[in-house]
C-alpha cells in the first residue's frame, strides 16, 4: 500500500531534483571567504574598531550599548571606552550626524549598519564575505570626489575609512576588446600602520563583530536548538510507539 506512494515520490524526486541541477549560478562576483569568528577577544577587538572607525558616519541604531556585555565587556568599560557620543550604557548606538547631513556630504546617507551583515548575503557569498572583501578593496582614484574607489562597489560614496591602517592601495585598470573594464588591486604604495596580514585580521574582527551585531541571539539560538531537537526526536519515538498501539487490532 505504502510502496505505491513511495515509488511515485521517487519519480518525483528524480524529476524535481533534475531542475536545480541544471541551474548553476551565472556571472560571478568574486568574494574572499571571511574568517568569521565568535571568539570574544576578536569580537571585542572588532567592537573597538567599529566604534572608532565606523560609528561616526554610520549608526547601529538597532543596537543598545549594554548588549555589548554579551561579548564580554563590563558596563564601566562600555561607558568609559566605547561611548563617544554622550549617553549611557542604556542608549542605542546612534550618531550625531543626521541622514540629511550624510546625504549632503557623501551623496547618499551612510546606511545603518545593525543588519548589514545579514543584508549583504547573496548567491556570491555570505554577507560577511561581502563586507570582508569590500573593506579590503578600496583604492586610490583621483576621479572620485573622495579620492577613493572600490573594486567590489564601483563609485561608492564612502571614502576609505581604514586607510591609515591599510595604507593606500592602487589599482590597475585594463579594458578588453569589448570595452569591459576589469580592476586589479595593487599592493599599497603608501604603507599603513599595519602589515597586510594584521590589516586582514583587523577587518576580519570588524566583520565578525558586524555578523554578531546582525543577530546577537544567533549563538544562543543554535545552543537552545540542539535541546529542542533532542526533545522532539525523543517525543517522536514515544508518539510513534503510542500511535502503533491504536492500530494493533485493526486488520
Amino acid at each position: 500500500m505504502k510502496t505505491h506512494a513511495i515509488k511515485f515520490l521517487k519519480y518525483l524526486a528524480a524529476a524535481v531534483l533534475f531542475a536545480p541541477a541544471l541551474a548553476m549560478a551565472s556571472t560571478a562576483m568574486h568574494l574572499d571567504k571571511a574568517p568569521v569568528s565568535t571568539d570574544q577577544q576578536k569580537l571585542q577587538h572588532g567592537a573597538k574598531l567599529f566604534v572608532n572607525y565606523c560609528l561616526n558616519c554610520h549608526s547601529a541604531s538597532l543596537m543598545r550599548y549594554n548588549q555589548l556585555q554579551k561579548i564580554g565587556f563590563d558596563k564601566e568599560t562600555i561607558e568609559k571606552d566605547l561611548i563617544f557620543t554622550g549617553g549611557n550604557a542604556g542608549s542605542m548606538m546612534t550618531i550625531g550626524m543626521t541622514p540629511d547631513d550624510g546625504k549632503a556630504w557623501f551623496g547618499t546617507a551612510p546606511p545603518d549598519l545593525s543588519l548589514m551583515a545579514r543584508a549583504k548575503a547573496s548567491e556570491f557569498g555570505s554577507g560577511a564575505d561581502y563586507l570582508y572583501t569590500y573593506l579590503r578593496s578600496f583604492y586610490r582614484d583621483k576621479n572620485r570626489p573622495t579620492g577613493w574607489n572600490n573594486k567590489v562597489f564601483a563609485n561608492v560614496g564612502m571614502p576609505h575609512a581604514l586607510w591609515d591602517l591599510q595604507g593606500e592601495q592602487a589599482a590597475r585598470e585594463t579594458v578588453d576588446e569589448h570595452g569591459a573594464k576589469t580592476v586589479e588591486l595593487v599592493a599599497p604604495t603608501v604603507p599603513g600602520n599595519m602589515s597586510a596580514q594584521d590589516f586582514d585580521e583587523a577587518v576580519a574582527d570588524i566583520v565578525s563583530f558586524l555578523v554578531w551585531m546582525g543577530e546577537p541571539v544567533a549563538e544562543s539560538r543554535k545552543f537552545i536548538g540542539i535541546f529542542v531537537l533532542i526533545f522532539l526526536v525523543g517525543y517522536y519515538v514515544l508518539t510513534h510507539k503510542l500511535g502503533k498501539t491504536y492500530w494493533k487490532n485493526i486488520h
Partner: protein, 453 residues
Amino acid sequence: MAANSSFPKYQSDGTLLGNALEWFDARFPLTSLWKAHLSEYYAPKNFNFWYFFGSMAIVVLIIQFVTGIFLVMHYQPNANLTPSGLPIAFESVEYIMREVPGGWFIRYMHSTGASFFFIVVYLHMFRGMLYGSYRKPRELIWIFGVLIFLCLMAIAFMGYLLPWGQMSYWGAQVILSFFSAIPVVGEDISTLIRGDYVVAGATLNRFFALHVCAVPLALLGLVVAHILALHEVGSNNPDGVEIKKFKDEKGIPLDGVPFHPQYTIGHDLPANVIMLIFFFAVIFFWPEGGGYFLEYNNFLPADPMTTPAHLAPVWYFTAFYSMLRAMTWNFFWIDAKIWGVISMFAGVLILAFLPWLDRSPAKSIRYRGPIFKVLLAFFVVSFAMLCYLGTKGTEYHFFGYTPTEGFNPLNILLSGSFHTKFWTFYYFLFFLTMPYWSKIDKCKPVPERVTFK
C-alpha cells in the same frame, strides 16, 4: 457516519462531573459534535503518507495565529522614519528580534510558518490530484480549498509588506502596479488598494488591518466550511473507492476507523512531530532558509528611491509570478501586461474547475492509466520549473550560458524566458486538455473495497 446524524444526549452517571456535563450537553451540542467529527467520524483505514498534510496545515495555522497575536503586541505599522533614518515598522520588527524576551523565537516561528504553510498546502493539494479527492461528491470541499489557497496568498502577500524592508516594499509595488494594467478602472483600483499613488504609509496600515483581522477571519470560516463539507460526504482514500458502500449492521463502514483516536493520535500526532522537527530545525539553525524564507534584501529598510537590482517574490509565489512574466506578446491588441495578470489569476482559479475537467473512470492514480501518470509527472516538473524560474531574472540562462550571436538553438533551449513560456503553456494545456485525455486513458479495474496491509 455523517455529521448530520442525530446522537443521543449525554445521560449523567450521577457524579458531579456527570451532572455538569448533562446540564451542558442539554444546552449545547457538545457530545454530538465530538462524536460526529472525531470519535464516530469514520475515515478509511488505508490513509498513507499523503494524508498527513491536512492536519499539518491546521497545526501551522494555529502556530501562525498564536505567534501572530504576540507579534501584534509589539509591532508598529508606521512608515515614518526614526532620527537615524530607519522606518518605525522596520525598527519595531528588529525591536522584537533583539529586545522583546523570546521575541526572535516568536518572529522566526511566524516567518518560517508562512513558508511551511505553503509547503504543506502544496503537498495537500497534490494529494488531491494523486487520488482524485476533488471528484464527485467532493467538489465543494475542493472549491473551499481553492478559496483557502487564495486567502492564504492574500494574507502572505500582505504580511510580507509589514517588515517594511526593500523586498516588502518593491514586491508590493510591482504586484500592485499590475492591477493598473486592467483597462479603464485599473489605475483607480491600484490607488484604492494602495491608498496612495505609490506604496506608502497608508498601504502599510491597510495591509496590517487586512493581514491581522479581515483575511484571517475569512480564512478561519473557510477552514471550518472545508472540514464540515468533508465530514458531510466522508474522506476519499488512496484507492479512490467509497467506504460507505459496505457497512456493518450498526451502519459503520467496514473499511472505516474512528478518526479519533486512530487518526488523531495513531497517525497525525507522530507525523506532526516529524514536521515540527523540520520546522524547529529551520527556526534554530537556518531561519533565513538560504534567502528563500527571509530574503536577504529585506534586511535593508524600504527605500522608495532605490529599486533593488534583482526583484523576486518569496518562493511560494514564484510559480504564479512566472505565469505573469510568461506573457510578453500583445495578443489581440491587448497589452501583454493584462495577459500576464489574467494568466497569473487563471493559474490559481483553473484549479477550481478540476472536478469537472477530470473525466477518468478511476479516481486514484493507482488505477489510472499511463497518460495520466506521464502528464502528471511533467505537471510537477512544470510547477517546479516555474517556481525556480520565478526566482531568477528575465535574462537568466541555465548553466550560466551566454547567448551567442546569430542563430543557435542553445540560445533558446537554455533560455529562462523560453522555459517560462513553455512550462506555463504546459501548465494550462494539462488542465485544458484533461477532459479529453482523462477519458481515453486506459484505467485498471477499481476494487470494491480498499486495499489494506
